[in-house]
């Protein structure tokens, strides 16, 4: 003869086990359902608002290894720092295009541009840009010169530029171009002149 209280305890335990099993089965089913669509991790483009302005982008061409000035019409905010970020993002967007003359890795972006008076700008690029960048002296130099010359041409008063990756200093962009020091805008302007010629 099974005691009554023992029978009740066993029944409650069995009911609990059954309930937990049903719950676990339902949860498993939910976890196994694949997501409806893959999630893009690419940065979302800033909403286009306000008046557009004509800016000059210094665009790298890998096939002949040159930099060329190219006019573009983009929305420009009024705040100086945001203007700096927008003009560089326009340049990066051009490099991310399918027909890019100087392809950058997917997901490349400008995290931020800090304008530190007097005359110092800090460009903070994301890890995707640096980690996946093609290695080579000229390939890396074209990216560096393109960013700095575009920034200094469109944001007056920038005399020196420092490039960070994910907010931290990095020795080189992809094994060659030195990022450990500041870049004098005047020196980059001379380099740009050299890079505009194929000789």
């Amino acid at each position: 003869m099974i005691p009554r209280h023992f029978f009740i305890a066993i029944s409650i335990l069995l009911a609990t086990v059954l309930g937990m099993s049903i719950y676990a089965w339902r949860m498993r089913g939910r976890a196994a359902v694949p997501p409806a669509a893959s999630v893009s991790t690419a940065p979302v483009a800033a909403p286009i608002a306000g008046a557009t302005e004509r800016v000059t982008l210094f665009v790298a061409y890998d096939d002949i290894g040159v930099l060329r000035a190219q006019a573009a019409q983009i929305p420009m905010p009024s705040v100086r720092q945001q203007r700096a970020e927008e003009v560089l993002r326009a340049l990066i967007a051009l490099y991310l295009d399918k027909s890019s003359p100087h392809p950058l890795p997917p997901g490349s972006d400008i995290r931020s541009v800090y304008l530190v008076d007097p005359g110092l700008a800090v460009i903070d690029v994301n890890a995707a840009l640096a980690d996946g960048h093609r290695s080579g002296v000229l390939a890396e130099e074209l990216t560096v010169a393109s960013l700095i010359q575009t920034l200094s041409t469109n944001i007056p008063g920038v005399l020196k530029v420092k490039i960070l990756v994910e907010g931290k200093q990095r020795d080189t962009l992809a094994g060659h171009a030195d990022l450990s020091s500041f870049f004098e805008v005047s020196a980059i302007s001379q380099l740009t002149s050299q890079l505009q010629s194929t000789q």
Partner: protein, 486 residues
């Protein structure tokens, strides 16, 4: 019967005992024979202070070497063990090792020694492979380990050589060495072997050399078990003659050798009309000084650009550096290849070694898959007022190149001109490329790209030879301007 039986039994036992002893001796004999048959591995160490060899021990399937024994001939060394910790002091440098750990500390900085540190009877054993990274920390200078052949070069001690047939007599092969050598000479049908057991002879640009000679069509360089060997292929018996204080070896058919030169150490004048070889400067006691430093970019874990799935930039730059050295040396320009193995040198180390060598020009080599032809770079300095941070005779590290920029640009222009003459697409640019800005003497970087879209051409000997020859011509053309050759 019992006694007979007992005597018989005793004899059986004696026989068994004798047989057992004999068997034991046989085993011992076989063991000792097997021991004597296996050649003991040795590491040959070459330095300006001493050249010596040490036994390599096998532990846990790896080659190990006693670190204290290695450093002892080079300076003041002391070691102290405390449990599993082992401290080694070399001159003023302290190294701390822990048994079973793959990391050590040298002067307070971590150093990866690639496998476990071992200690046997108070003797510290480090993996042979760790010497490339460990020794520069202790010695403060470059150390190149040729791991497979067990040869270690400490400092600028390598003896280079060129080989060419005499222009007036294609049957004579002339080797010119940058330091006196004393190889053992052995012959066999169709071959002559020069074995260098005690000299730091290093590989030419290509390990196989071919000559426009029917008598001596080829020679091959190889290294193994602490020695270098040059094997000359020939179809006639050859004799070796030594001259120029042991720096020149002339191989000639036995009949044509004069009695005075055959297999004797003589000092006749160097052969006339020898292509691609000039007498090196006198260096009997002083360490060799170099006019040019050639630095093969990247190395070790830093592979540089992946030029193709099977071709790394570091391998192309090393092959190209060796070829350029041979071209420069053949023009009488003493040359040191800074990275002459698959070693990992930091950019600061490269600049430090280049500056302390006091060479007239530093040439960094890179390779790239993008673009065409060759790019020659000079330093892009980080400051406009580059000399502002100089203090008296001390140069600011980021702008040490400032005073030499005009000379570097002149060298770049000369190299570009020579490349242009060879019909190679050429550009001269400045670049934020370290360590150019840290070098106090003239400094350029040469980035080699393929002539067309085929990247594999970068590894082709013909293409490398074409560019190395042109670069050497450019350096040769500006030699006087770069300064007096050491």
């Amino acid at each position: 019967m019992p006694s007979t039986s007992g005597a018989f039994t005793g004899g059986d036992k004696g026989c068994r005992r004798t047989g057992g002893v004999a068997f034991g001796f046989a085993i011992l004999l076989l063991f000792s024979l097997s021991l004597s048959a296996a050649p003991e591995k040795h590491l040959s160490i070459y330095s300006t202070v001493a050249s010596y060899s040490l036994p390599i021990v096998q532990r846990q399937g790896r080659d190990y070497i006693g670190l204290l024994e290695l450093l002892e001939p080079l300076g003041t060394v002391s070691a102290k063990s405390d449990g599993s910790h082992w401290r080694l002091r070399y001159n003023n440098v302290l190294g701390e090792f822990t048994v079973g750990k793959t990391r050590a500390r040298v002067q307070g900085r971590d150093a990866d020694i690639s496998a476990k540190f071992l200690m046997e009877n108070g003797r510290g054993l480090v993996p042979l492979a760790s010497l490339n990274s460990l020794l520069p920390r202790f010695l403060g200078g470059p150390a190149n380990l040729h791991e497979e052949s067990a040869r270690l070069f400490i400092g600028n001690v390598a003896t280079h050589f060129t080989a060419s047939v005499a222009s007036d007599d294609p049957s004579r092969l002339v080797f010119q060495f940058t330091a006196p050598v004393n190889p053992s000479v052995a012959t066999e049908p169709g071959r002559l072997h020069l074995t260098f057991s005690h000299e730091p002879v290093t590989a030419p640009a290509s390990s196989t050399l071919t000559f426009a000679s029917k008598v001596i069509p080829a020679a091959a360089y190889s290294e193994s078990n602490g020695a270098a060997e040059i094997t000359v292929t020939t179809n006639v018996p050859l004799m070796a003659g030594f001259s120029n204080d042991g720096r020149t070896i002339t191989l000639a058919p036995a009949k044509s050798q004069s009695a005075a030169t055959v297999a004797q150490r003589l000092a006749p004048p160097a052969p006339q009309g020898v292509q691609g070889a000039q007498s090196p400067p006198n260096q009997s006691s002083n360490p060799r000084r170099y006019f040019a430093i050639v630095d093969a970019g990247h190395g070790g874990a830093d592979r540089g650009e992946a030029l193709s799935p099977t071709l790394a930039e570091k391998d192309v730059t090393l092959a190209f550096a060796r070829r350029l050295r041979q071209e420069l040396e053949s023009r009488g320009i003493t040359t040191l290849v800074l990275r002459d193995s698959d070693a990992n040198l930091s950019l600061d180390d490269r600049a430090f070694f280049a500056n302390t060598t006091h060479a007239a020009i530093y040439i960094a080599l890179h390779a790239a898959s993008s673009g065409h032809g060759v790019r020659v770079y000079t330093a892009l300095l980080p400051y406009a007022d580059a000399t502002a941070d100089d203090r008296g005779p001390f140069r600011s590290w980021p702008t040490a190149q400032a005073a030499s920029i005009p000379l570097s640009q002149a060298a770049a222009a000369s190299v570009a001109e020579a490349l242009k003459k060879s019909e190679i697409t050429i550009r001269t640019l400045s670049a934020p490329l370290r360590p150019l800005n840290n070098i106090v003497t003239a400094a350029i970087a040469v980035e080699v790209a393929p002539p067309a879209s085929d990247v594999s051409v970068l590894a082709a000997p013909d293409y490398q030879q074409l560019i190395a020859g042109a670069v050497a011509n450019g350096i040769g053309a500006i030699r006087a301007q770069l300064g007096a050759a050491p």
